[in-house]
Amino acid sequence: MERTPQQHNLVLILARAFAAQLATAVFLLDPEGTIIYYNEAAERLTGRPFIEGAGSTADEWLSRTQPRDEEGIEVGVQDLPLGTTMLKQEPAYGIVTFRTADGEDRRVETATFPLFAHTEDFVGSFSVVWPIEEDRP
């Protein structure tokens, strides 16, 4: 019997469909922290087309974007909102500065929350990223 293909959980499918309609930057990560989707607004914000970032682990993504805290100190995954959500399965909020693909630094607010399927399985993280007003074009 042929093996059936793998499929994303319906909660992720709906989250992706929702994010695809938003003008706000959204990143969708699986439970291990792999980037499985980001929308056009996130592409614009980071300067990186999804095809370039798809499948990146959180660590790989961080090495490209070099996130720093308000004091300008580089932070690791565990110190970022998405790290908190990934590791503790809790919502988290923070302000970080990251480097875009064209080398610019951009300050953003980010709110991340865990996605639970109704069987209470942790299926991923939904991260909304908002450029801070003074930095917006």
Binding site: M1, T4, P5, Q6, I13, L14, A17, H118
Partner: protein
């Protein structure tokens, strides 16, 4: 695998002159996988007549797979004769919700004031199984279920037996927020369940024109189902969950539309008709 359609209508039973050929009973399909007791897909009004047949046969062990608990998929259960016999062993699969078990959810309908008798008073032995996302085996058949896009907890089923596969995805709107032609398959609701099925039974409630006012209602159009069948590479397709406002002639036209859009031979797509035999 063989089976029979006992109800193919969606939303509400709609008997009458205009619906005589395809029937007016709501969703119910009987399935007979080899080496397995009878499997029933959904408990719409069509299940009443099936129940009469099963009692006559002397069937005692049976499996009911509910896709969800909207009334048109549950309303026949109270008139399903086997549950009123204490020798019946009924296993029900269906989706729980974040706040209630499958049994509690069924009891919401199966209790006063909506029904005169409470579910707990039914003489048959009933076992409830959460089918939100699972795989299981019964005798010679393998079952899998997964959540699909429809308002409220809803699942589709894939049933495999002797190398043949039937997929049942009624009440399904995979096109909601998705492009069925271009999106990767793993991002399309129901894809894994339907993938390369020998027979796919799928929602086809609307015409594309009707859908313009009904996105999010949880149903598919002729265009959606054609794209979905093509994407999932199914062999044959049965159009199901007919809109109660669609007369027989319109269902004929909708089937022709699906065949044209899918671009396959005419005999690979039929419209579900009450009483029709299914062979997988």
């Amino acid at each position: 695998m063989k089976g029979r359609i006992w109800g193919s209508r969606g939303s509400i039973a709609s008997p009458g002159e205009d619906t005589k050929r395809y029937g007016g009973n709501t969703s119910c399909i009987e399935l007979r996988p080899p080496d397995c007791d009878v499997v029933i897909l959904d408990a719409g009004t069509g299940i009443r007549e099936l129940g009469v047949r099963l009692v006559r046969e002397g069937a005692q062990r049976m499996f009911l797979l509910l896709t969800h608990l909207h009334v048109d998929h549950l309303e026949g259960l109270g008139m399903f004769e086997p549950i009123w016999r204490k020798e019946t062993e009924l296993h029900i699969w269906g989706p729980s919700s974040p706040v209630a078990s499958l049994e509690q959810r069924i009891a919401t309908y199966f209790s006063p004031p909506l029904f005169p008798v409470h579910l707990s008073e039914v003489p048959a032995t009933i076992e409830y199984h959460d089918a939100s996302e699972s795989e299981w085996q019964i005798d010679g058949a393998r079952f899998s279920s997964n959540a699909i896009i429809h308002p409220g907890p809803t699942v589709g089923y894939r049933i495999e037996s002797k190398g043949r596969v039937l997929a049942y995805l009624t009440d399904h709107e995979p096109a909601l927020g998705a492009n069925l032609a271009t999106d990767p398959p793993d991002w399309i609701s129901g894809f894994a369940l339907a993938h390369r099925a020998d027979l796919l039974i799928h929602d086809c409630q609307y015409t594309p024109q009707e859908y313009e006012d009904r996105p999010g209602f949880g149903h598919s159009t002729t265009e959606h189902v054609a794209r979905f069948a093509e994407k999932a590479e199914v062999d044959r397709l049965v159009l199901f969950h007919h809109d109660p406002m669609h007369p027989d002639d319109q269902l004929d036209a909708m089937r022709e539309d699906v065949v044209a859009r899918w671009g396959v031979d005419d005999d690979r797509c039929i419209s579900a008709a009450e009483g029709a035999e299914i062979v997988v």
